[in-house]
């Protein structure tokens, strides 16, 4: 492949398809940093990349990685930006100028004196970008730069990248999984599979190809139109709405908004699995993280908690599982108060999956991880280990060290290690972070399966599409309070900003639609005369 100057190339593909390796090849880290066997050559401006001096290369190609936490070296913001410049051996005067330029361009002036540890995730990633930009590269390679950020910070970051490309003429190579946010920014989309480039072309061309080959790699809007058999595929909500508006004009909308009613709570008379009553929580530093929370979760329910960073979602989860004790109010699990029952351990009844699966893994094999939890609770293996490993598709890694697995597999090992106790309530903190669409779908259907089997599932996520697809109930939090609660249609359907791409597409044109399947089912028949492919064929 070749990339022209000033191009914005988006590289998409499933986990393990070789995207990140490609990025490292383009920035010269492979083979010089990693080693390994290799063949073929990479040229930068007609010069072989390996022959270019590292210093010169670093001034041409800059790279931003996934996790900002693992890229920062210095304590202060300014020192961090200057770090690369010091490495290049630039004179003082030149460093002053560049640091000043970058700080004002990225609007970091207020944070100039701040400690890096005090910044938010989005600010940290912006700082990483600043540190790379200060070296004045001409090519920017971004390896899933927003995978650890919340949607607002991610949007911010992409806007910045777009400006760099359009106003400053940077050549951008962006590796991404959240395609709905960046598909339209790119001039060219490269799709990878199993270490090969399988498609390379303009975004709409890529969208058509991906739709044709059955990959859900493309944004939901494009996928929707491709399923309905359209030749030109819109990649943004704006284009999609125009197209849909034209199509629907004059056609009757069947039935109007169909706010699907939640199934009448079957457990109306019974005690709910989890009940949070007037819960208040204050951190020792005086921050009131939770204010008057009331929430019930029944067996068989799948509840998604949405909300921006710092709104108290994780604190609520920790209160639910007994890791934090409420300041006021009560948390009841199957009717019994956890805080009063000190001898009783919630771990048997409640499984908790934290944000970072690495916090779980320390045994020599995957199997030992599961047995460790069982041993702690004095349980015998009655075949549940086999069952879980099989169900989570990690059976073939049974005797492998969990640290040798990919991040998606690690997460499933961590999940298995808390599910061995056959808990009735599953509590997960941002399990969708950093997962690609395929793994996300796998996780979603696994959890939905658990809920269908009678467990209660509560999870925190930033991923609205995920919540709309799998959750039966959605809770929205803001500044320590629940601001909205109800079925996904009641909450997400009414929100303008916290809505799915399909929801935004159909708003006002055909209300009450949130997910891809619903859209195909409801709108498909309206567009008579157009070949309608069934959604099922593309799942």
């Amino acid at each position: 492949m070749s990339i022209k100057e000033g191009e914005f190339v988006l590289v998409a593909g499933a986990s393990g398809s070789g995207k990140s390796s490609l990025a490292r090849v383009l920035s010269g880290l492979i083979p010089d940093f990693y080693g390994g066997r290799f063949g073929g050559k990479v040229y930068f401006q007609e010069k072989e990349m390996r022959a270019i001096d590292r210093r010169k290369l670093a001034r041409q190609v800059g790279m931003v990685f996934q996790d900002p936490e693992k890229q920062l070296v210095m304590n202060g913001v300014e020192a961090e930006i200057a770090f690369g410049l010091e490495n290049l051996g630039l004179p003082q005067k030149e460093m002053f100028r560049r640091v000043a330029e970058v700080i004002s361009f990225l609007g970091l002036t207020e944070l100039r004196q701040e400690f890096t540890a005090n910044l938010s995730g989005g600010q940290k990633q912006k700082l990483v970008l600043a540190a790379v930009l200060a070296m004045q590269p001409r090519v920017l390679v971004l390896d899933e730069p927003t995978s650890q950020l919340d949607p607002v910070a991610a949007e911010d970051f992409f806007n910045l990248v777009k400006r760099l490309n359009e106003e400053m003429g940077f050549t951008i190579i962006l590796i991404e999984q959240r395609l709905e946010r960046c598909f339209h920014l790119a001039d060219r989309v490269v799709i990878m599979e199993g270490g090969r480039v399988v498609q390379d072309g303009a975004p709409d061309q890529a969208a058509r190809w991906a739709a044709g080959s059955g990959l859900s790699l493309i944004p939901p809007v494009a996928r929707f139109f491709s399923v309905l058999g359209f030749a030109s595929l819109p990649v943004t909500v704006k284009e999609g709405r125009r197209q849909l508006g034209q199509l629907l004009s004059g056609r009757p909308l069947s039935g109007g908004p169909d706010l699907r009613k939640a199934p009448a709570s079957s457990s109306a008379g019974q005690t709910p699995l989890l009940e949070v009553k007037n819960l208040w929580f204050t951190y020792p530093n005086g921050r009131e993280a939770l204010q008057d929370i009331n929430l019930k979760v029944s067996a068989g329910e799948f509840v998604a908690i949405l909300g921006e960073n710092g709104s108290g979602k994780s604190t609520l989860l920790k209160n639910m599982v007994g890791l934090l004790q409420p300041g006021r109010g009560r948390v009841l699990i199957k009717g019994s108060d956890m805080s009063k029952n000190r001898g009783w351990h919630p771990g048997r009844l409640v499984a908790y999956l934290s944000q970072n699966p690495n916090d779980y893994l320390f045994q020599d094999t995957v199997e030992d991880e599961l047995l460790f939890t069982m041993k702690n609770f004095g349980m015998e293996d009655d075949g549940i280990v086999d069952g879980l490993l099989k169900e989570l598709q990690i059976g073939r890694h049974r005797r492998v060290n969990p640290r040798d697995l990919s991040s998606g597999e690690r997460q499933r090992v961590a999940l298995a290690s808390v599910l061995v106790t056959r808990p009735e309530l599953l509590v997960l903190d941002e399990p969708t972070r950093g997962l690609d669409y395929r793994l996300k779908a796998g996780l979603g259907s696994f959890l939905a399966g658990r809920a269908a089997a009678g467990a209660g599932v509560v999870l925190v996520t930033h991923d609205v599409e995920f919540a709309a697809e799998y959750a039966s109930r959605v809770v929205m939090m803001f500044a320590g309070r629940i601001v909205s609660e109800g079925t996904r249609h009641e909450t997400l359907g009414q929100s303008v900003f916290y809505s799915t791409q399909i929801g935004k597409l159909c708003r006002g044109l055909c209300d009450g639609i949130l997910t891809f399947d619903e859209a195909v089912e409801r709108i498909g028949p309206l567009l008579s005369g157009i070949t309608v492919a069934r959604a099922g064929t593309l799942k």
Partner: protein, 309 residues
Amino acid sequence: MLDKLFYKEKGLFLQSLHPLAALTYLGTLLVLALAFTNPLYLLGILLVVALAIRAADGLEAWESYLKIALFMMVLVMIINPLVVHAGKTVIWQGPHIPVFGRLTVSLEAICYGAAMSVRLLDIISVFCLYNLIVHPDKALNLFSRFAGKSVLVISLATRMFPAMVREMENIRSVQQMRGVDFRKGSAKEKVGKYSSLVNILLLSSLEDSLEIAESMQARAFGSGPRTCYSRNLWRPRDTLFLSGSACALGAGIWGLLHGFGSYTFYPQLDYLISGPGTVALLLIVLFSLSIPVLIGWGCGRWHYLKSKI
């Protein structure tokens, strides 16, 4: 809760010092606190440091340091008289105890313990002041010219420390939910539980370190000789404070060589003030040391002074 112990940028006068001037000042305070034995001198230094802490808006932070310091002071004051039998003025005699011998408490030992605990307080307060007025990056920056790599390692370590504390907390929660009860079990079992916490932390840190190395490599680390970015400015005030520190240090050393500033506790207490020289020297030292406080106070009042210095 811990954040009040760390440096915070507040744009204060004392925070605007060049790190060389600030570190020399703090170093002088530390050396003098260790060198003087005269309780008056030690109290004088404590007064100066307290004023400086107040000027650095750090009374609240100082309080947390004081809590630890007071505990240690009490300990020193109790233990010293019990184990040291050098004093002549015995005020209490206790029973015979195997290892220590006969318990005797002398006035001299009590006074020595008190003086030493003031010295301890001096030293702890100087560290408190350091945390209040010196930005760690600026201090490291000063040394990075001649010890670049060591400074980078220190910087990475200080950056990692709070992150690791947070990580440790998460791992502990996770282990708790997996049925590990940290309150129960024998000492040996507890060690086992905690060592697996550390084990997880180390495994994760090791993995993370590779990513940090990669990011450093991508930013041309180790590609050749480095330069050093420094935004520290040298103002007239730094010259003034540096000379103040030098003056205090010089006077202190001269005084110690000529018998001022030191004090004999054993076998019998000396006079606190052995002549006008003791007072004169004390005043000189205290004045030189309090220049930053005085100037800082003046700058707060008169804009003219601030613009000139």
